[in-house]
Amino acid sequence: MNAAAQAVTIVMIEDDEGHARLIEKNIRRAGVHNEIVPFTDGTSALTFLFGQDGSGQVSAGRGLLILLDLNLPDMTGVDILAKVKANPHTKRSPVVVLTTTDDQREIQRCYDLGANVYITKPVNYEAFANAIRQLGLFFAVMQVPEID
């Protein structure tokens, strides 16, 4: 993220804490130093994104990048994606779907709902670490719009 977007917060919604930690470590290795806010379930992530009242007002003026796993214990990531893209305060925030599923229909559905990037978690760790590092490098150069 460029200097202007230094305040961009990475919201990581990932139910596997080990994965979350490995993702964080590898993003950091790519030189990304933004704040990362991890969530292991959908409910608490939604509260963070849309506030207690669920209006999304709380996200106004925030710079957010959402890293989303589709398999969550309390809901599917697709629901969160739909809510994020439907809310006027969060709809411009880039959403990176990072999940194990490589089902074509699932991928299509995510892009239809407005997902910006869809990444299948590589099967073995080397590839996984590599992919996350590259994602980190990508984050370092991408523009995130400021949210009104």
């Binding site: 080990g18 994965h19 490995l22 470590k25 599923t101 099967v123 073995n124 760790y125 996984f128």
Partner: protein, 497 residues
Amino acid sequence: MPITSTAFARTTLALVFAGALALLAIVGASLWLVDRTSENAEALVQGHQFRARTAAILSSMQDAETGQRGFVITRDEQYLEPYEEARARLVSQIAWLQEQTRSRPDERAAIERTGALIDTRLAELEAIIAMVRADRVGEAVALIRTNRGKRTMDALREVLNTQVDAIDLHIAEAIDATRASATALSWAVLVGALAIALFAGASIWLSVRYTRDLVSARQEVQELNFSLEERVADRTAELARANDEIQRFAYIVSHDLRAPLVNVMGFTSELEVCLTQIQQYVERTAEAADPDTLTEVRQAAFEDLPEALGFIRSSTTRMDRLINAILKLSREGRRSLTAERIDMGALLDAAAASVQHQLQAGDGSITVEKPVPNIQSDRLAIEQIFGNLVDNAVKYLDPARPGRIVVRGREEGARLVFEVEDNGRGVAPQDHERIFELFRRSGTQDKPGEGIGLAHVRTLARRLGGDVTLESTLGRGTVFRVILPRRADGFAARPTA
């Protein structure tokens, strides 16, 4: 009890035969009876004729007498006319009477006596007429008065009556016989008709029962067919569901197993990074430390920890490969197949070309025996089947001799049979089925691999509606035989998820 078709045919035939016999009996009896009736009728006619003739003879005699009497009284020749006529008639009548002696031998005496009496009377009449002509009227009257003529006539009448009586008796007998014959005929016809009706009835009853049996049997068959189709459809749906579930299960299991594995592997990497740092630190602080502690720390940092991490890494790598294999198979099972026309010659050539360089190193060769029949099936699946089989053949060649791999195909009815033959190390008989199972391998485990290839080949072949088998002699070589339908129209139930 149901009637079998042979029993039905036999019984019906027997009944028809019996009916025909009854009909024949009726016809025979009728013919016999008609014959008898006509005999009786003949007798009847003859009897009546006889009566009429005898009456005519008597009347001729009376005419002769009348003529003679008139002449005697009037002496007029004209009165002799009836006499002359009667005499003329009597000539033929007497001739007929004499004939009767032949047909009626037992009446011969009576007939002869009749003839004699007629002669006697006619002679008397002639004598009287002669006397009158000679004007000896007195003599003639005296002769008449003797009543000899009347006695002769009475005797004649009596003898004729006796014969008529005999004839009448004969006629009565004939009538009785005819009546009896008619009655017998009626009975015979009645009994015969009854028998025919009975046989026909039995035959109809049998036919009706047989037909009803047939109809109900056909209905049963139809019902069975219908329920069978239903059952097959049900089972197919069940199987498809079960297959679907297994596929999904495999997919979920492999996905969910992989997530923690990524952690194990990831943190192992992290540990390795940490270990490097520890090792560097140990190296740097070596001189400052107490020698005993140093040895222990060194051992831990350079031997124990790397060994442990090495085992963790190799095991997780293996586990990762296995899970990937399951995932790959499950994906293959989920992939929807599309049939297209495939040039098998080109496809097999490509498969052979991909292993050519491996073979050339070991002086081996691979040939595709042309021509090979073309197939209509899923291209990717066919490519994977033959790719795997050819790879396998190359992988397990015997290093002691140059490898010879031959690929060929032929038609067998609606199916195509392809063979991949090698002269490699072969497969032990007890492993012939086992090597098609997932993660199972045969022989010396000196080659890399997870034991997926053949399981994959079999899964694919079966999904395409065929199968794969092998024939092998340990140490001599192996023939893998892939049997596929020439046209794969409906592929085996494919999961919808």
